[in-house]
Amino acid sequence: MKPLEKYNPGVLFFYFLLLASIAMFAANPVMIATALMAMIAAASSYTRDGLGRACVFFFIIFVLTSLANPIFSHNGVTVLLVVNDNPITLEAVLYGVMTGVMIFSVLLLFRVFSALMTSDRLLCIFGRAFPKLGLLLAMTIRFVPLFGRQRRKIENTQKTLGLYKNENAIDTIKGKLAVMSAMTTWGLENGIVTADSMSARGYGVRRSRTSFSMYRFERSDAVLLVLVILSCTFIFFGIATDMLKTDFYPRMKLPPFTVYSVICYVLYAGLAFFPFAAKLRDRAHRAALDRVKMHGGSESSFGEKIRSMYQNETEERSTFGEQ
């Protein structure tokens, strides 16, 4: 297992797609719970600010969807309370909660996906299939930070030239707009240079351009791809044959635990926790490297250094001896 970032972007894309589709189609509490736990683990280890602020927003969505269902849907037999002659049923609440959890975990999954699918990975996928689109995206992605930097530069310069001299809100807004206008001119005029640079390097010479990517398709990618396809086929078969289906109305009925469904749950858990497992392994590996550095590195005490050198030497000798 290599770190998730090292896998081929196409394989990763496919993996996330299937993972999300199963979570959405299965409508199975066990699987959705698994997905939720796995995605919380993954989001906290892959995204920069962990679960962070975005999750508050996701949680609000979760609460809203959970509440919305019992308000709109009055199916189900177990009436909890009656509001304005409308019964609120346990089944509707449960269904709402499950939908909420599902949406919450899928949103988390998108977050992990966004963190992993950096622009160059996404370009690798899109670019292969649609080279022209790939180029357009690549150019835009390059221009966004460039424009941001230019905006700051213009703002600074204009500040010294007395752009915001009246120091009130209207003046500030006017100033910002003037900066935006200057930035537009700058972008358009200098864009011509970029365009010339493109034509000079043969842009438009051929009807179809290729799209190059540094990512290779390795054996480990193939292994992951095959594993993902096999287990997903297995699970999808379960979904298609209603073996994993949960009924909510009129009364909630969980699917029976059969050998098949348990295998499905285990497979799905394996799939869903894969990013987290890969991260853990990677961390352990790095921690081990740090330990080696601490003990055998140049920062260690002289005595330790000698000892480690000596140990290495004896090890080498012993290997020579074996030969």
């Binding site: 180029l135 600074n156 500040k159 001299k165 051929r206 540094m214």
Partner: protein, 583 residues
């Protein structure tokens, strides 16, 4: 083998402006041609005409041959690959967001397969030493790296001709000379023919085989570099563009001619016997036979020059030439002559600096310092520490300096030394985390809101395009102006705020020699009128011409600061070509 030829090329822009008249040039395989000329002389138009994809709109007559075939007959693919083109602005030429992707861009356009692209991209990255930043995003590179990337991503298409339009004008001197060295290597090792236009030829001329000088769209000189330089160095328009060594040579030649005249031996009299006596009235002691050698070697009018008397192009050649003629010129000659105002002042200044100049200057310096003490300080940095990121490296560390009112103060230093940061801090755009900055005796933090910028401090930023807020400058669109004109227009806008303290960040970027001179005059006039000017620049020639005092910034701190002349005489690397010649 001839790779490129243009015959009787004429070009008229749609607005009726005749840009090129009767241009005929040719370039052989592996040859390097340097194109020079004032702003607006038609350099860019010519270079763009040579690359079909970039030909400007307008009326063209005459023909261009690429590898013996007419330019129009080339297929799209051939036209794209055979001729490579690198432009001025490093940033805007980059198309994609990753270094490796940028390298692959041209090959992608040609529809080359994955494996082949991978091989060629990696190969070229290895050749240009780009492994370190191969995976980086293009946004994070320095200016020099960006321009190298532009060159590499053209080279990956394996062109036979490489055209560069002012490729190093936006780079600092060290990156520029690295870039030019790379060009020379490409010409030598791969037989690529190179045409490069540039404003400053100090570095480019020594490595080029041919030189093309254009003025008002016509050829002023074309041919072997040395011959052209020899011819142009006495030309009024082109002399300032020539390398310092060549200019010095020309001056020496003039002097020697004067000597000959003074002795009664003009160019015509060179075969006459030399006098054994000393020339007492000028105080010059000339040993018998030496003057004859001098006349023969250094006088441009002399026919049948020997090999070693050829005009020097680089500092190295210049030094060798000076060494050879050292016995001829003795210090006292120069000094005496100077006292009589007979010699060119530039030459003599430089000559004397080495011996007594520093001594004298230090005296002058101390005198000035005592004078300064009585003057008001315009800008003061007191142990300023600044860093952009909380945990990042210090950009300025313990920076202390004092600029007096009415003074022109220059800060020179390499890339990333913190020059720009220093002026931004002085303009109140970035805040130090420790230390004090005082503007006219008042702490910069005590200036509230926009107070600092009301007829007090103004900054001309490195990127002058950020100055233009409107699309109309004296009836013209700012982007219709050439780089140099933009620079001057921006300065005018900045000056309109009537600053007492003017901060200039790389004011000579993209300026040609004549514009730099007019800028120099303008700034000196301002200083005389009482404006304090702080310039940070890579351009040591400009700094030496303009500054009262200079400081060398290294790694965020000032390592030396003294009176301008002593500063450049004392420096080894950060000094003018002339100083290097005469060290």
């Amino acid at each position: 083998m001839e790779v490129l030829r243009a015959e009787n090329l004429n070009f008229v822009y749609p607005d009726g402006k005749q840009a090129l008249t009767d241009i005929s040039i040719s370039l052989g395989e592996g040859e390097m041609m340097c194109v020079c000329g004032p702003t607006g002389s038609g350099k860019s138009t010519l270079l763009r005409l040579l690359k079909r994809e970039l030909s400007p709109r307008g009326e063209r007559s005459g023909s261009i041959y690429i590898s013996g075939r007419r330019q129009e007959e080339l297929g799209d693919r051939e036209a794209a690959t055979q001729v490579g083109f690198v432009m001025q602005r490093p940033d805007m030429q980059i198309v994609t967001d990753k270094v490796w992707h940028e390298l692959a861009f041209g090959l992608e356009n040609l529809g080359v397969g994955q494996g082949e692209i991978r091989r060629r991209v990696c190969e070229i990255a290895g050749y240009f030493g780009m492994e370190e930043w191969f995976d980086k995003s293009t946004d994070s590179l320095s200016g020099g790296q960006k321009q190298l990337l532009n060159l590499a991503s053209v080279m990956v298409m394996q062109p036979r001709i490489l055209i560069l339009d002012e490729p190093v004008s936006q780079l600092d001197p060290i990156a520029a000379s690295d870039f030019i060295a790379t060009l020379g290597k490409l010409a030598r090792e791969f037989g690529i023919s190179i045409i490069a236009a540039e404003q400053r030829l100090e570095e480019l001329v020594p490595v080029s085989d041919k030189l093309l000088a254009i003025k008002d769209g016509r050829i002023a000189a074309f041919g072997d570099t040395r011959e052209c330089v020899e011819r142009l160095v006495s030309d009024e328009t082109f002399a300032p563009y020539m390398p310092a060594a060549a200019r010095l040579f020309a001056k020496l030649a003039d002097i020697s001619k004067e000597f000959c005249d003074a002795c009664g031996y003009g160019a015509a009299g060179k075969n006459a016997s030399m006098p054994d006596s000393e020339i007492t009235e000028t105080g010059v002691h000339i040993k018998p036979g030496v003057e004859e050698k001098l006349c023969e070697e250094e006088n441009p009018c002399t026919e049948g020059r020997k090999q070693k008397s050829r005009i020097p192009l680089s500092v190295g050649e210049g030094r060798r030439f000076l060494r050879d003629t050292k016995n001829i010129f003795e210090e006292e000659k120069c000094l005496t002559a100077r006292s009589e105002g007979k010699y060119d002042s530039e030459l003599c200044d430089a000559r004397t600096e080495k011996t007594e100049g520093i001594r004298k200057d230090s005296k002058v310096g101390s005198a000035k310092e005592s004078q300064n003490a009585s003057r008001e300080t315009a800008l003061e940095f007191r142990e300023v520490y600044l860093s952009y990121e909380r945990t990042g490296k210090d950009v300025l560390r313990s920076l202390s300096l004092k600029v007096m009112k009415g003074e022109i103060f220059c800060i020179v230093g390499g890339n990333g030394a913190g020059k720009s940061t220093a002026v931004c801090a002085a303009a109140g755009l970035v805040r130090p985390y420790s230390g004090k900055i005082k503007v006219f005796g008042k702490n910069i933090r005590d200036y509230k809101g926009q107070e600092l910028y009301r007829e007090c401090v103004a900054l001309l930023p490195q990127d002058v395009q950020t100055v233009f807020l409107t699309d109309d400058i004296n009836g013209r669109h700012p982007y219709d102006l050439s780089g140099g004109e933009q620079q001057l227009a921006a300065l005018d806008i900045v000056l309109a705020t009537k600053p007492k303290l003017l901060l200039l960040d790389e004011p000579t970027k993209g300026l040609d020699v004549s514009l730099a001179e007019s800028l120099c005059k303008k700034l000196k006039g301002l200083a005389a009128a009482g404006t304090t000017i702080v310039v940070v620049s890579h351009d040591v020639e400009f700094a030496s011409a303009i500054a009262d005092r200079c400081a060398l910034l290294f790694n965020g701190e000032i390592v030396s600061v003294c009176e301008s002349r002593a500063f450049f005489a004392g420096n080894y690397f950060y000094t003018t070509a002339l100083n290097r010649l005469l060290r």
